[in-house]
Symmetry: C3
């Protein structure tokens, strides 16, 4: 439980009373009550208000808000306010603003504009966090700390350059080691002095955001930047912890956000929280996968849904409204996949600046007589009825999909073999094939304990980090099923190729080697032709993007390419290794293949679907003290039904016993207990 002060699914969201005149506050109180809101995230952007100059701290407005909220039965997720530094600070200490990747010194403006390696910024931000913790640590409204906001973006200042050199010294010890790791003999880039190293930017090695001449330095800079921002977070964390010993601390993450290694970050978060902003055309399974990833950051621990919009966004190209029922449906999707909170950005729509067209519980009309408010209030009532029953419930997936930020960076930085390869999309193809069959999945990091799973899938595991191959081998040795694909096992953590034949360290496990990698032009495809019928798989399936030209060593060939000069070479292989099996998929297959293939693997392992249900139903399950809670979410516009066999099952939302045919209304939700 995040905080036992409030033993239910928290409901509420971002609240910015400082943007409003006091007469509005009373109306806020009334409307929050009507909507069943019990948590407000406050102070996210209040730095300039609390600290109007270098030497003054004024907590009076915040005191008032904390007290008022508490009086009205609302708990507080208290932000440290460092999401954007004050204008006076940028003027007095220019070093606090960033330099961008184009080498341009930024001036005051926006957010994500604080130089993470500015000593001034670090001092001021952690000092503020400490003062807040000292003041509010015992406030009865306080239930969680929210450090800064949506950390992100990179910096290219001289402060970061100097810090980068120090980070490199610590990492490599000697320039020789660094020169080897970056292969600087290529293009004669050998460094003879640490001071010769300049950070990689458009002025040095990079262009177009993810193109680089030297993968080594660019990869390290991403690690370093993720680390620099994490240090800023940790400084605030420590400053809070000095005073506030027990209240959980988090910062809101952003799903598959590219620039930060969230598996590294999660180690320092008491609870993961994140902001979920799908658009009208985001695949439902993509949102599901993202929730599962956020749950996986801390090995299955429930997380906070920190932000979602009640109605529409402002920053998408086309900000469609959430259709009736969809806000509730997507809220339960989060809960089904591990969220113990349902929080919005925002409670009241702002009157000006760039987020004024972002949805809110209280819209510009200002009253409760809106569709959005009614839907929010209905969900608020429902969550009050649900109480704490689902809190802390966990998934019990036997299938894991591996996702790794460093692998992603390395893949995106790669020059060749193809620009068509998108790591997140490839991972999603595998997730979606399982999702469509209602099979539970955990999204796991490269350091996760694999022994909890029956099947581990590692799509496009281009970079194999130290120790992983041995752990994968042990997993399979003991009976596990391991799956990986084309363009895997290519490089080590420095992006240096493992020589001697791809997939390098995974070669013994997979029993194959890849001689060449063909990149297909747009419009080109090949086929995966099954050697023989294998349960759900038979005949031929389209594949594309890349085709590894592989040779089996110990592995058995299950399918072969159907065309081009490598027609007849293996396209799908399996290697028996100890008690388990390791599969290699040599190209990027279509959905039909993946559903059949993964269905077969699950059948082999007696992994059952959560439910037999038609397309359009999403199924997910949480388990608490042995009791399963099966979520059925209907994402379509018409009622759907499914059969459940067992007796003694109740619908948690209606209380009624359910048996035989379960009807799930359009955009509806059933939570079946038992």
């Amino acid at each position: 439980m995040i905080n036992d002060k409030l033993p239910k699914i928290w409901y509420g969201g971002d609240y910015n009373p400082e943007q409003w005149e006091p007469e509005v506050w009373a109306e806020d109180d009334r409307l929050f009550r009507l909507a069943g809101i019990d948590v407000a995230t406050i102070n996210v952007f209040s730095w300039a208000m609390i600290q109007p100059d270098e030497h003054t701290y004024d907590f009076s407005a915040l005191d008032e808000t904390m007290d008022r909220l508490y009086r009205n039965g609302i708990y507080v997720c208290l932000a440290t306010g460092t999401g954007a530094h004050p204008a006076w600070m940028a003027r007095r200490y220019p070093e606090v603003t960033r330099v961008d990747a184009k080498g341009r010194k930024r001036k005051f403006g926006g957010r994500h504009n604080s130089n993470p390696n500015s000593a001034v910024y670090r001092t001021f931000s952690s000092r503020l966090a400490g003062k807040l913790a000292e003041r509010y640590k015992d406030h009865p409204a306080l239930v969680a700390w929210h450090v800064s906001n949506e950390y992100g973006g990179y910096d290219y200042s001289e402060q970061s350059e100097a810090a980068f050199r120090e980070w490199l010294k610590a990492r490599y010890g000697t320039l020789d080691a660094l020169n080897r790791a970056w292969n600087t003999r290529f293009w004669g880039h050998t460094f003879y002095d640490w001071e010769e190293i300049v950070l990689p930017s458009e002025l040095t090695e990079e262009w177009n955001g993810s193109r680089t001449n030297f993968q080594g330095i660019s990869l390290d800079y991403r690690r370093f930047m993720s680390h620099s921002l994490l240090e800023c977070y940790r400084l605030e964390y420590d400053a809070i912890r000095e005073h506030s010993k027990d209240v959980p601390i988090t910062t809101n993450l952003m799903g598959f956000y590219k620039e930060l290694d969230y598996f590294e970050w999660a180690k320092y978060l008491d609870v993961v929280s994140w902001d979920n902003y799908p658009s009208l055309d985001t695949p439902v399974s993509f949102t599901a996968m993202t929730h599962d990833l956020m749950r996986g950051l801390k090995s299955g621990q429930p997380f906070m849904l920190m932000e979602q919009t009640p109605s529409q966004q402002n920053w998408q190209k086309y900000n469609s409204l959430k259709r009736p029922g969809v806000m509730r449906l997507w809220s339960y999707q989060a809960v089904a996949r591990g969220a113990d909170t349902v929080l919005f950005f925002q409670l009241r729509r702002s009157v000006g600046a760039c987020e004024k067209f972002h949805g809110a519980v209280i819209e510009h009309a200002g009253h409760e007589h809106t569709r959005v408010f009614r839907e929010c209030a209905e969900l608020g009532r429902e969550l009050q009825l649900l109480g704490g029953e689902l809190l802390d419930a966990r998934s019990a997936a036997k299938v894991a999909i591996l996702f790794d930020w460093e692998n992603r960076w390395a893949l995106e930085l790669s020059s060749g073999p193809t620009v068509a390869l998108n790591y997140v999309n490839e991972v999603h193809k595998y997730y979606d094939a399982l999702f469509a069959q209602h099979i539970e999945v955990d999204m796991v990091g490269a350091e996760e304990d694999l022994t909890r799973y029956e099947i581990v899938i590692a799509p496009v595991l281009y970079m194999v980090k130290p120790g992983f191959a041995a752990r994968a081998e042990a997993f399979v040795q003991a009976g596990g099923t391991f799956v990986t694909t084309f363009f895997s096992g290519i490089v080590d953590e420095h992006d240096l190729v493992t020589l001697g034949g791809y997939p390098g360290p995974l070669r013994p496990l997979l029993g194959i080697w890849a001689e060449e990698i063909d990149a297909l032009l747009p419009g080109m495809s090949n086929q995966i032709v099954m050697e023989r019928e294998w349960k759900k798989l038979s005949g031929s399936y389209e594949c594309g993007i890349l085709c590894d030209l592989i040779h089996t060593e110990n592995a058995e060939t299950l399918a072969r390419y159907g065309s081009d000069f490598y027609q007849g070479m293996p396209a799908l292989t399996v290697n028996r290794f100890g008690e388990g099996k390791a599969y290699y998929i040599a190209s990027s297959p279509n959905a039909d293949f993946l559903q059949g293939f993964l269905g077969n693997l699950c059948a082999d392992k007696d992994i059952e679907p959560l439910v037999q249900a038609p397309q359009g139903i999403e199924a997910a399950r949480r388990i608490k003290n042995g009791t399963p809670y099966l979520f059925l979410l209907n994402h379509t516009g018409g009622e759907l039904t499914t059969e459940i066999g067992s007796a003694g099952i109740h619908d948690l939302l209606t209380g009624e016993e359910v048996t035989g045919t379960v009807r799930v209304p359009a955009k509806g939700v059933r939570i079946l207990k038992g």
Copy 2:
């Protein structure tokens, strides 16, 4: 009349004898005479020639040109020459060049490169204007002053930053007022000192040209920049007026040019002039609308067509030739819509640099035996025959369409709800629907006196400035018909939302409120379904981009949405208000709907089409001393005919009496008097 020295439609254009050797001038004289040219715009880019260094002014070449032209019967529109500053000035006073939106200090080059807030630039440019006025104020050739050239572009220098702060102080008085207006509590951007304010650029709040974090500061910067450039113009204007008391002063505008608020500028122009550069695929009605806008800048006062090309442009992607007859046709289009001059850029094609492939009366061949020259000379003869008859004639439109630059800026700066919304395109949809029915329109600004009109249409009036709602109410109260659309009445002049329900201040007038605004994805559409047949309207019409979800208060619902979850909600409403009616169109409809709808409104007000004519005929009318002049312009490649009922009508170009069926040849023009 612009200047009674030359009481006819002026004919000529830009002339740059300084680019040529003297032996060419005699040939110019001969060819101008052949072409019937009587006005030359000179000295547009002569600053470097007249002022070769800081202390020297040399007018000898200009003296010679003025005298020569006058001797040859050609009057002069005399430019102040400040369209581009000299190279020596940029070298000696680097402050005169601009800093761009990316923060880059520009060096010498191009035009639109003078820092409008450079004291040096202001001093030198107004001094030059003054010296020219002093010298030539009584020259017999002089008929108009032409200040600088096509003012445009923004500057991001420190001089502009300092001036911006002063402008803000004058506008807001206190930082509290400014902080409120910009809603700086959002993202903690509160300013405690004027010096903390930095101008909005890619280094602060903006990106991609029209994206911003803070609409308030970005909107004010556009106002400030338009104002800064206008100040430069006014300094030259005042310097001229000190000596030259009566000769009209103008600067050439550019139609719907985005960066300057031409309604504000027009207050300081004695006569509006503009440069008309449609391409082969520009809709004819778009050019017509632009002429009408230029006429509307000074409430209907005739304007100068300052530039058009006789044949082709150079700066378009595909610079097609004007087909035979088109130059004449488009010249009369300008005249039909209020132009009292027909001027070209340029009289002789330049031999080098970026405009050498821009058309001219005298092409590179250098003689009169070209199609282009022949067409120019024919028009010259015709305009001599026309004499002064049409001068000062006015339109008598009863329908006005409102266009407002500040609304446009605010819409383009908006973050959400959709990138598909383009203000000028939306305005054009309404214009085009009236144009297709040969109904006269005035394009008017937000400050225009509405009582002159029967119908006022204000598409997407997102920003409602102080006083406008009351004037609109008074207009309708007195019997007027007012039309506005989705996404109107949202914000005030600071881009702060008018709370309590859209369309804010227009809500009483329209009798509806809008609860939500749905943005449609590309390819999506909805339908406007008529409640019942209403004259030209019945059944269902496609609509898209945005759909307001509105509720009627006092209004009557004329049509409803045909699909999606808001099927059945009002899509078209009318509110009886006093003696008049106010319509709200909740989405962006197709052309069929708009023609029917606007046709109905005109029928209700007994506003007749100028003529019953087929598509392809453009009709326009000017009236002078009670005599109407009906222009019929055939934009098609075949002859078209139309019927006119009344007797006593003459064709002004042929002199013949016209009755019954009027034939308009392909690309032809008729001007029917009486």
Copy 3:
């Protein structure tokens, strides 16, 4: 012969032993031997290794490599290593790095980053070249010098600005001459002091890479930059020659690379060498044309194929594998068109940085048991068998196509008439029409002696440089056939229009003048309609992009436009001039027209195809001491046949006599001698 030490087609490529541990070298030796490799290009990026600081030069590793290679029977193409400067140099002398076109000072990184006008860079680079020459001039392995690597890119530093002013003073003598050449009276850009001139960049006159306000300065800057880089090359050349008197010196060019005038460069290369990187979808005729251009740089002298990939590239969007046989096929394509070497980039794939996915003879697997190695080794054996027989053989084309870099720059810098015009594409259309008919072509520069040819084709000869028109006239006078097209003869070498009627200086020769130039919108086309059947031409052919509206003077009209207002005006003309004919094609025709037209011209001149062969066969011929070698290259996936009439012909690769039907296998090669 490039160097008679190795009297055969050289076989090998780039080799970077410094990137590898010594234990790998022995394996390199073994594998090179297996592959039949006899030349290694080394030291290309070794500057930082050889010169670890300002005062130290360490040749020990290079000594070892040279000796080892020689011991193993491998000759060395020795690079000067200045392809990228060391990091210490960039730190100690910031002037050595470039400033980019956006005005941004670059820091250390990448290659193409040395400021060509930095005195420090020039001193250090030529000093290194001299030291290498002094040390290795008599090394028995040395067969060629390779200066720097793939010179390219422009610089915008203050050093280049100062050097540009000096270059301009030398070119123009006086500012008056410069002001005239650049037509600076346009937009009042007159310079009164040399110091006022700033180099053209995004901060002054240019934008989007090839857009400019002043063609004159932008064109001169391209000349100056090509010249500056050439000066750097020549400083190294001279430093080498001081010691090494006879060994040929080259630098590797890049085909149609835009930024350098290779005809100017070739004057200073002892032998042309170039890097050939077609992709899977590059038209075969485009690669052929590029080889022919490289051969034409030194008037037909055989060239070095310095780089090609054995398998795939890394820097294309989709890096497809070379299909089986294609590496051999394309190697012989180079030889067929004048290459006397077949060299790869690279011999061993690098382990890290951006080229690790670039193909190599020794792939990451590290052994010889790969398809790529096997194909390389087979070709190695074949080239050993071929020996020196083909060396120094020449083409004997009677048709020349003119290509001129200055014309290309001017065309790309032109503002108008259309963005659709691409010079290289237009040239390729003509080349392809001849290629498809197996007619030999030489690609020649504007200074080439035309009298060697029967037919000279100069597509889109926009810029006619001094003396060319007279030489073209003399060529036709003497019986030659000259062809040019729309948008030719427009400007002189300063991009100043030749007044009086296009095509200016070519007008007497062509007997026509062009009055107007129409640019077609995308999707628009016109037709070339033959007046009467003329051999292979009859009826109507599509044309587009630009349409010149021309009038015949002395010329005869062979075809007319089929539509638009210029229907019936001449579209194809011929002018009898002395003993020859000059043709003008007024628009850009389709391939059918061009094949017919050029076929007709060849027939008129009794120029026979090399062979009657089906599409898919490429034919090329080299002649040595009167003996012809006919290459037949089958680019398709199936066997093709062709008939040869004469007797006494042998296949050089198989030794067998060939008569009657010649079979060319899929992707196969025949070299027919006799």
